[in-house]
Structures are given as structure tokens and as C-alpha cells.
């Protein structure tokens, strides 16, 4: 260990050389090239946005929120999920889960940084936002609370990580608990951004603020399998197997609850044929992206867990990859489905009927920035594994 500025303990061999000195296996090289390509796409996407503004995106008057909002949600949900999983050990004291705490808390930091990067190029005036969020806060705005609380949450996560690195578990617990509570508040506020949309009856209500917390926990467990899978190259030791088996069992319960929630959400949406709600729910039920979400994020992982009650961590690693793709569709569907129904149902231009459904497909700039966010997230995480010891240490 070498001690850096502010008493931050870095790995002894941390340098540019150690970052580039990964094992040159086929998989590693493929991942490295993919990450570089995604970072390149991020640069191209941002340049296109800076040159053309929102015209680089396929967002419209009728569909003002596009892929970047979905990807922002994807990352911040991942961050909250990592935070919940990380807290199991260092905040709540479950000893079996202690070994993943530091890694998960670091994951929560890099995922939210990726989320902030993506949203910075979706919000039209991010600098104005930072100024007027403070000078004239809109306290009735769910976006204000969500953004402000996420800012605080990131601060607490960084402080918690600092104390975890320094093996100061008492202070890590205090900041971890505070960060967790602020993170959960931020996250349910993100749900309320949709839940407060009285104009959009398909999203309005208590469902999203609570469902976001549930899906965050699920996302956190999927991501835990993925990062532990890469850490141990799918060759888990007994202690890790015990951790992952416990997480898989929790995941089985959570996914079952999620299926229960989603089923009742759709049934209540359709029941009685309420205008602007029932037909939207029916449209969602018949959409391929919803089927993809259900199969990849719910059915496949649940079947794998039920096979032997979570005793196959390698299979769960692959199921978690499927789960994360499903979670991406879940976020995309949330954003798109909210805006499916046109608010102005009448014909407003000669020779042009009002659309029955609002169509949207992301532009290349939106796709490139989104993939770039993923690349940035993986890159930062990789640098973190080279810079810090993310494994559990003997405590004082």
C-alpha cells in the first residue's frame, strides 16, 4: 500500500503501467477494445451534441424525454442498488456480505458518475441548473429533490468509501447509513418524477416511487454477480459462493415480488377500461420491448435461481448479464411508455391526423452517448480495481 494525498491508500504498484498491464487474454482484449470503442463513441456523441444541440437527438415536442433519460435512470438505479448491497455488510453488519461492501460502494460511485455524465448532455443547460438549483430552488419539483439528494448521496458514498479504504468501519457505517438513507430518498424521488405526472395516467401514482427501490435492490444483486464474476474469473472460493448463494436467494424473493407488482400494475391499469390508461397498458402488454424486459430481467434469472435455490453462481453470473439487459429495457420502457399517449388528440395540421401513439427511436448521437456512459463506467471501475484494494481486509 502506498499512501496518497488525503491519506488515501493506493495499491503499491498503481501506475499507468499497471492500468495497461492487464493479462492479455482473448476476453480481456475484447473487453478493452470494446471499452475504448465506447469511449470513442462518447466523444463523437458529445461533439455532435455540442455542434447541434438537442437537434442531434430524436426527442420531440410530444416525446421530450428520450434514451438519455432512460440511461441516466439505468445508471442511478444501478448506483442505488450497489449502495443497498454494499450496506448489507458495512452498515447492517451481515458478516457474509462484508466482503463485497467496498467493491459495491465503489461501484455505486462509478455508476452514478456515469449517470451524471450522460444527463449532463441531456439537460440543455447544466451550468444554469447548478446555479439556479441553489439560487431559486423549486421545492415542489421532484427533479429538484432527486438531483439535490443524488448530489448529497454521491458525497456520502465517496466519504464512506474513503473510510472503508482506511478500514475505519465505525465512520464508514455512519456515512454508509446516511448515504443509504439519502440515496433511497433520492431514488424514490426519481420514481416520483414519473409518479407526479398527473397528465400521464399510466405513470401517475404511488407505484413508481416504491417500485424504484425494489428494482434498485434487484439491479444491485445482478451487478454484484457480475463484478464478483469478473473478480474471481467465475472460479469462486467457498466464502464467495456462500455470499452469492445468499444474494441469489434474496434475488429470488425480490424478483417474485417484482413479478407480483408488475402483474397487479398492469391489471389495475387495464381494469374497467379507463381512458388514456387501459389502452396504453394494453399497448405495453403487446410490445416486444416489454416482453424482452420480462424474459431477460424476470423469467430467466428466476428460473436459474429456482433450479437449485441459488447454488449455481456461474449460471447466475450469466443470468445476471441477461438481467441487466432486461433492466435496461425496463428503464427504456418506463420512459417511453409514459409518453406513448398523445396529449393533444385532435388533428392540428391540415392533411395530418393526430397520431394514435407517439413513436420514438433514439438517434445515433443518443446511442453513442449512452454506450459511452457504459464504457466510462467500466473504465472507471477497472481503474478503481487497479488503484484500490477492493477486497475485504482484516478489521481493526
Amino acid at each position: 500500500m502506498k499512501i496518497g494525498p488525503l491519506n488515501i491508500p493506493f495499491k503499491e504498484d498503481f501506475s499507468l503501467k499497471s492500468i495497461l498491464g492487464f493479462e492479455k487474454s482473448f476476453v480481456n482484449i475484447i473487453v478493452a477494445i470494446s471499452v475504448l470503442a465506447m469511449l470513442g463513441m462518447l466523444a463523437i456523441g458529445i461533439t455532435t451534441y455540442l455542434l447541434h444541440g438537442h437537434h442531434a437527438y430524436n426527442v420531440t415536442r410530444e416525446h421530450p424525454w428520450g434514451l438519455l433519460i432512460a440511461v441516466y435512470i439505468f445508471f442511478v438505479v444501478s448506483s442505488t442498488g450497489f449502495c443497498i448491497v454494499g450496506s448489507l455488510g458495512d452498515v447492517f453488519g451481515f458478516k457474509d456480505y462484508m466482503m463485497i461492501s467496498k467493491r459495491a460502494i465503489f461501484g455505486s460511485i462509478v455508476t452514478i458518475l456515469a449517470g451524471f455524465t450522460v444527463i449532463a448532455f441531456e439537460i440543455g443547460h447544466p451550468v444554469t441548473m447548478m446555479i439556479y438549483n441553489v439560487l431559486s430552488p423549486g421545492l415542489t419539483s421532484a427533479i429538484w429533490w432527486m438531483g439535490t439528494l443524488y448530489g448529497l448521496y454521491l458525497t456520502f458514498m465517496i466519504i464512506e468509501f474513503y473510510f472503508l479504504l482506511n478500514n475505519d468501519m465505525k465512520k464508514a457505517k455512519v456515512f454508509g447509513l446516511t448515504g443509504l438513507l439519502v440515496g433511497l430518498a433520492a431514488h424514490s424521488n426519481l420514481g416520483s418524477v414519473f409518479g407526479f405526472l398527473n397528465a400521464r395516467t399510466i405513470s401517475q401514482g404511488v407505484f413508481y416511487p416504491t417500485y424504484f427501490i425494489l428494482t434498485a435492490f434487484i439491479t444491485g444483486i445482478f451487478l454484484s454477480f457480475i463484478i464478483m464474476g469478473f473478480r474471481y474469473k467465475l472460479n469462486f472460493d467457498e466464502q464467495t459462493k456462500k455470499l452469492l448463494e445468499g444474494l441469489a436467494k434474496i434475488q429470488g424473493l425480490l424478483i417474485s415480488i417484482l413479478i407480483f407488482f408488475v402483474t397487479w400494475k398492469l391489471l389495475t391499469d387495464m381494469y374497467g377500461g379507463m381512458p388514456n390508461r387501459a389502452e396504453v397498458a394494453e399497448h405495453i402488454l403487446h410490445s416486444t420491448s416489454f416482453h424482452t424486459e420480462v424474459i431477460l430481467a424476470m423469467i430467466i434469472p428466476l428460473l436459474v435461481i429456482l433450479k437449485d435455490f441459488g447454488k449455481s453462481p456461474v449460471l447466475m453470473f450469466w443470468a445476471s448479464l441477461s438481467g441487466m439487459v432486461g433492466i435496461f429495457f425496463m428503464r427504456y420502457n418506463l420512459v417511453h411508455d409514459t409518453q406513448l399517449k398523445p396529449l393533444q388528440m385532435m388533428k392540428t395540421h391540415e392533411y395530418q391526423l393526430a397520431p394514435e401513439w407517439i413513436h420514438y427511436f433514439p438517434s445515433s448521437a443518443e446511442i453513442m452517448i449512452s454506450l459511452g456512459g457504459l464504457g466510462l463506467c467500466i473504465f472507471l471501475y477497472y481503474v478503481g480495481t487497479r488503484a484500490f484494494n477492493l477486497d475485504e481486509e482484516a478489521h481493526h
Binding site: 415536442r61 443547460h125 439556479y132 438531483g147
Partner: protein, 187 residues
């Protein structure tokens, strides 16, 4: 200090779109189908010839409803959307961050992005133009050949709009959402 509102005798509308043109001209709204502060909605005629349902083919001029409980104002994270001294819902483009939350929250699809400032824009009841010059009419009202629109102070019991709302039945759009619109459709 007033509380401006508008009553629309919408059955008189002939869909000439003079109001849309006048609004664009008066307020410098950019060209383009999506860039509009006001519009005339049109129902398609139902039924088949010769049994056409003529009553279904109504024109419904519309715009920002200048709600007393405006969802767009409540969701704005920086107070860029505000009520001015005349209770008109306005956007301060210096504070607008273009998060587009107001566009999603407005039940009336009354907001769009002004490409010059890259901020959200909407009907202002001509506050920056005609009202600022001391006039008491809006461009859409002034130009309407069939006198569909009546604009005025809802707090003044002697104003034409107050009188017409006292004497004629009227309804508001999506009033079940509790937005308390200040646009009234006369029946």
C-alpha cells in the same frame, strides 16, 4: 395587476388559422409545425356519406390554459416557470435548464422548445408584446374574424369576459386534473 383569462366561443371558429399566424408574427415564434404557441384542433368527421356526423367535426382552438394550479410551474426545478403579476404563466429563459419536465407535465401539450434560446417557450397572452405596449388585447383575439376569443381580467366584474362567464355556460379542458385553467370554452 390583473388576473387574465380567455373565453373561447369555439363553435364560431372557422379554422382559418389567422390566430396561429398572428401569434407567430406578433411574438416572433419560429416557423415549423412543432413551433406553435396556439393551435386549432380539429376532429375528423365521423360516419360515411351521406350519413355524415357533422356535429363531430368541431374546431377547438387551444393554447396554454394559464392554469391557476399549473403542473408545469410545480414541477420546474429552478422556478423558471412562474406566475407574473397578472397571473400569467411565464418562462424565465435565463433560469430554464431545458430538463423538459414541464413539457411532460403539461396536460395540454402547450410547451415547445424555442431553438434560438434552447429553452422552453409557451403562450404568454402577448405579455412581452401587446400588453407591454399598453394594449389590452392579444394578437390571436385581435385578428379573429369571427370573434371567437374574449380576453380580459377575471377579477374585474365589469370586464367582458367576467360578464360572459356569468351569463353563458362554459367548460374547461381536463378540469378533472385540478389544474384550474383560465381558458373557458363557451357552449
Amino acid at each position: 395587476m390583473a388576473r387574465y383569462g380567455m373565453a373561447l366561443d369555439y363553435k364560431n371558429c372557422i379554422n382559418c388559422k389567422a390566430c396561429e399566424v398572428a401569434c407567430k408574427e406578433e411574438n416572433g415564434v419560429l416557423l415549423g409545425a412543432d413551433k406553435h404557441r396556439i393551435w386549432v384542433g380539429q376532429n375528423e368527421v365521423k360516419g360515411e356519406w351521406p350519413l355524415l356526423d357533422i356535429a363531430s367535426a368541431a374546431f377547438l382552438p387551444s393554447q396554454c390554459q394559464h392554469c391557476d394550479d399549473a403542473p408545469c410551474q410545480e414541477v420546474c426545478p429552478t422556478h423558471a416557470t412562474y406566475y407574473d403579476e397578472n397571473h400569467v404563466v411565464r418562462v424565465n429563459s435565463d433560469k430554464c435548464i431545458l430538463c423538459s419536465y414541464c413539457m411532460n407535465a403539461c396536460p395540454y401539450d402547450a410547451r415547445y422548445v424555442d431553438d434560438r434560446t434552447m429553452t422552453v417557450d409557451k403562450c404568454t397572452f402577448c405579455s412581452d408584446t401587446r400588453l407591454a405596449r399598453g394594449e389590452t388585447t392579444t394578437a390571436c383575439q385581435n385578428t379573429c374574424p369571427t370573434k371567437v376569443r374574449i380576453f380580459g381580467d377575471l377579477d374585474d366584474p365589469n370586464s367582458e369576459i367576467s360578464e360572459v362567464l356569468r351569463t353563458r355556460e362554459h367548460f374547461s379542458l381536463k378540469s378533472h386534473l385540478g389544474t384550474k385553467p383560465k381558458l373557458f370554452y363557451l357552449t
